[in-house]
Symmetry: C2
């Protein structure tokens, strides 16, 4: 059992505060040669995969390709120190790159130095926000993004990204944060299509799709074991990079209008303190916040999925700190916003990474690439990078989940549809905001109009069920209402209306019981409404009772005067309530002996 | 019974759509001489009370005194046509006047024509918003203002209003929407105190307080019946108006620096189509929205209180329409925002008003006053009006409720304290917003971290209770978790963490039961979390069961694949679950006959 719980709760079960902030102190102590070898192998594989991916996502964000490499180095080291997931790999990812492009594009023109400054400022701001949220333990704020909203947002973003890359495949220009502008600019320029670029783009895309689906089975048929075949297939894009670069050089395609990555500075990331410009921060804080939350949710989902496979756990609040540190590290090394990416993390995990040290080794690999490999990337066609992006993001587009959600819950579907629709039509920021607002509004709306039922006794049992769903015993003098929700300010007024309407339609009523088995809390507003109901029922000659009140609710009611004012009783069980009120109603029906009347009538 | 329900549900039980929109068609059909007389008497009394009050509130809103009269005429007629409350009287009220001053003051200087234009635009905007909300049946939006927030807001506004009137009592100048500015300007100018003004102000205030507390008992001791004594006392302010005006004229106090109301135009309200200026509307829409919601909540509270006394009901959505029409009417007759006021409505009710026609008669009274009485008000000292405001608003200040709320619920108190604090320190608009945001945040926070308990069987019963609160039977191989909240996206992640942590600390566990008696709904995010829990428990060799799932929740689960994937069962009752899992665990503990092993071991 000892080892088991230790694995289950990596950070908080043992060790003190320092280990909680620096999980590296925890796993670092047990680091051995076996783990080292496994981590090193994983790092080598991930490095090969990350080189084209980093360049491609930088391009998607509208930034020079080397910025993608820079953003993949120091953040990995920062995450290795602060992160709680053993396999998560941070760096540029598709959705965050798109959000960066939208935010930086709102303050500067792509290709200008100001645009790069804005992207770096976004990383710094987002990093600081994540750190603050982590220290304040605000990880639960990510809850505001429901699963359907996140799923819808990622699908819509994936579509926008894929369509935006069409311009690079066609060799034309095009722009826009959302579909309407994107499609119009593409349609306007489609006449400028560069045919050699299109051929490279289409071939690369087709090849990469085939690599995804067909290469692994082929390798296995050729006798390779499943796992190495899988990893080789994951490295497929590097083959596309190599082949298309070679084609450009041999056929002199640059002269024929094929755009290439061009010369990339052969250097370490440019370590520098980012500019702190309050005017710029004021413009960027909203997108930075959205980007932080989306990045966090994406990263935590990936981390949890991978951790669950090994019965490990991740600590969401500590993940905020780790992602915050990664983004600050990115900003200080000339990078742009990063988060834990699905593709790279899965490759890292599948390649056998055991600790975050694998991330640090990948960083070393990417430093090597920045220093020695960049000259060989100059002839890489942009269209090939676009193809890697399209193939990567189309796997994010999920058209199956909307159908499942539609069948399961129309309210969740409404939130999802709003997110997809507004993301496609107006862009990523309005899309996320719409999703959060619609989910929240529907949640509040549902809380404000809870399910309630008049209940009666199931014959021969002590159970009470909805009179509309079951054949049950009731009495015209006794009405029991079961409210299936906590009573709060959101539904307090509804409760008053509901109860008084039921009372109005039961003219013989003498006793009303509020069955509180599903009432987990009563806030001050609802308490006032109960007082008002008690008062109005008294005016109407109806006694007000409660039944099956939960312990914590009863504790709260003892802290106020409601129980003293209550005209009726609080019954432990609904069965007690019904039985004794029935007796009482019978007793009331038979007139009690009245000696005063007998005296008045001369009977005694 | 017939008459009873007819009274209970005035608009929607009988009559069609037209009657719902024009409740006047409903009560107007049964209008007779008795009702007419009662309404007329009530109208006369309310008119006398409203004259000084209308002037005073206009002054509080920073507007010329006659605007208060105008705002009291047409809105009453509009409400008489559309309103569902029999006794509610609409017109200028203290809190809305203060909010008008804050909003109009943010776009223009008090005393300028632009300021009046802004106040009229506020009435129009607010009226249109209320109408739209009414047609869309958005009355439930008022739920967002919890009782503690409204109570705190009114107390804080009352304090600000009372303190702001000190300047008129002292005869100095002072300004500010919130305490810090208000107190500094008052302190700076206190040297300019005008002594005759101060004497009038202090005497008027003392007299009005005495009228409130002492006049009714005195009149009753003099032999007057309780109800006329009460109504005469309510008309007390008119005496102060008369006496102080006389003092000004006789002692020529205007020459000694006592500020008076001055000449008021002797005319009907100026009927005119208000200016529609999009730039102004853009600046005023937020304050107009806040003002609409606050006004609506105040009005509905008053209306419900009075309706309940006669077992009548009001229709909140129709009230939105009525208040909207009243505000539009106010704007078209040169008035400013109005709502249902507590003081005037209570007087109307106590004076015997039976239908909204009393309001229409009051309007006629006020037209007479505007035409014939205004010359006599020229010498009325501002200090006397300030005294009527102070006495009126100090009754709104409620320092008892915060203590009760503190004892009952710290979360409600936090929302209330935030509202009071921010209203006092930063003004009415930030105060309302803070109240709504804090209530909502706390509600969401509570929903995100619901109460949950591990439960066991109470010996000798079929009841299951919290292991921490009761002595109950449990088994190390079976764990039952009861979650006391609906499962939603806000607590889905929490649920995963909670369940997995409990599983990690129970090494012998074979069966986990989620007791769902308090789960009223499961949204798509929570469903995904349940699927994740099911999956992870399967990996850990633990079977996942549900018990006591409610009907509507079960219906929803049948619309997805969860029940097919579930490793365990859905038990109708928790007792069934515990009993049969206990049997099963026992059976698993005794090795089953294994003929294959016997064969292998050569036993058979």
């Amino acid at each position: 059992m000892e080892t088991d719980t230790a694995r289950e709760r990596p950070a908080d079960a043992r060790g003190g505060r320092l280990q909680r902030i620096f999980p590296v102190l925890d796993w670092g102590r047990h680091y051995g040669t076996g783990t080292f070898t496994n981590d090193l192998v994983a790092a080598a594989i991930v490095t090969i995969m990350l080189i084209p991916q980093s360049l491609a996502y930088a391009m998607l964000a509208g930034l020079p390709p080397e910025v993608g490499l820079y953003a993949s180095i120091l953040p990995l080291v920062a995450y290795a120190i602060f992160g709680t997931s053993r396999a998560l790999a941070v760096g540029p990812v598709a959705v965050v790159s798109l959000m960066t492009a939208a935010a930086a594009g709102s303050v500067a023109q792509q290709g200008t130095p100001e645009y790069l400054v804005a992207a770096i400022a976004l990383a710094l701001l987002s990093g600081l926000m994540l750190l603050v949220m982590g220290f304040l333990r605000l990880g639960f704020l990510a809850n505001l993004l429901s699963h359907p909203v996140v799923s819808g947002f990622i699908t819509a973003s994936g579509l926008i990204i894929a369509i935006s890359q069409a311009k690079s495949i066609l060799g034309i220009s095009g722009s826009g944060d959302a579909l309407p502008e994107l499609l119009t600019t593409l349609a306007r320029n489609i006449g400028d299509t560069n045919w050699p670029t299109l051929v490279i783009g289409v071939l690369s895309t087709a090849f990469l799709f085939w690599v995804r689906k067909g290469l692994k089975p082929l390798l296995m048929r050729l006798g390779m074991a499943a796992r190495p075949a899988d990893l080789t297939a994951k490295a497929g894009p590097i083959l596309a990079v190599f082949a298309s670069s070679l084609a450009v050089v041999l056929l002199d395609l640059e002269a024929k209008g094929v755009k290439t990555v061009g010369s990339i500075p052969q250097s370490l990331p440019p370590f520098a303190v980012p500019d702190i410009d309050p005017a710029l921060w004021e413009k960027l804080w909203v997108p930075a916040l959205l980007l932080s939350v989306i990045g966090f949710v994406e990263s935590v989902s990936v981390g949890q999925t991978l951790a669950a496979k090994k019965r490990q756990r991740i600590e969401p609040d500590q993940e905020l700190v780790a992602l915050g540190a990664s983004n600050v590290a990115s900003a200080f090394s000339g990078g742009y916003p990063v988060t834990g990416g699905f593709a790279r993390s899965v490759v890292n995990y599948d390649a056998g990474a055991e600790t975050p040290a694998a991330g640090a080794f990948t960083a070393v690999g990417l430093v090597m690439a920045s220093l020695f490999l960049t000259p060989y990337l100059a002839s890489l066609p942009i269209a090939t990078l676009a193809a890697t992006i399209i193939v990567a993001v189309l796997s994010l587009v999920d058209l199956h989940t909307p159908r499942l959600v539609w069948r399961y819950s129309r309210m969740d579907f409404a939130a999802m549809a709003a997110t997809i629709g507004i993301t496609l039509l107006a862009g990523v920021e309005p899309g996320v905001i719409a999703g959060v607002v619609v989910s929240l509004a529907l949640f509040l709306w549902r809380s404000a109009r809870p399910h309630a039922a008049v209940v009666g006794r199931v014959p021969g049992t002590e159970h009470f069920r909805n009179v509309k769903r079951h054949k049950v015993l009731t009495d015209p003098r006794i009405l029991t209402i079961r409210v299936d929700e906590s009573l709060s300010y959101l539904n307090a007024r509804w409760l008053e209306d509901y109860v008084m309407a039921e009372v109005a339609s039961h003219p013989e009523l003498r006793h009303l019981v509020l069955m509180s088995s599903a009432v987990n809390a009563i806030d001050a507003s609802a308490l006032e409404s109960l007082e008002a109901i008690n008062h109005r029922l008294a005016d109407a000659g109806v006694t007000f009772h409660l039944s099956e009140v939960k312990g914590p609710v009863m504790d709260a009611l003892h802290r106020c005067h409601f129980l003293e004012q209550l005209t009726g009783e609080v019954f432990l069980s609904q069965n007690d309530a019904f039985s004794s009120l029935l007796e009482r109603a019978e007793a009331e029906a038979t007139p009690a002996p009245r000696p005063d009347l007998w005296l008045a009538r001369g009977l005694i």
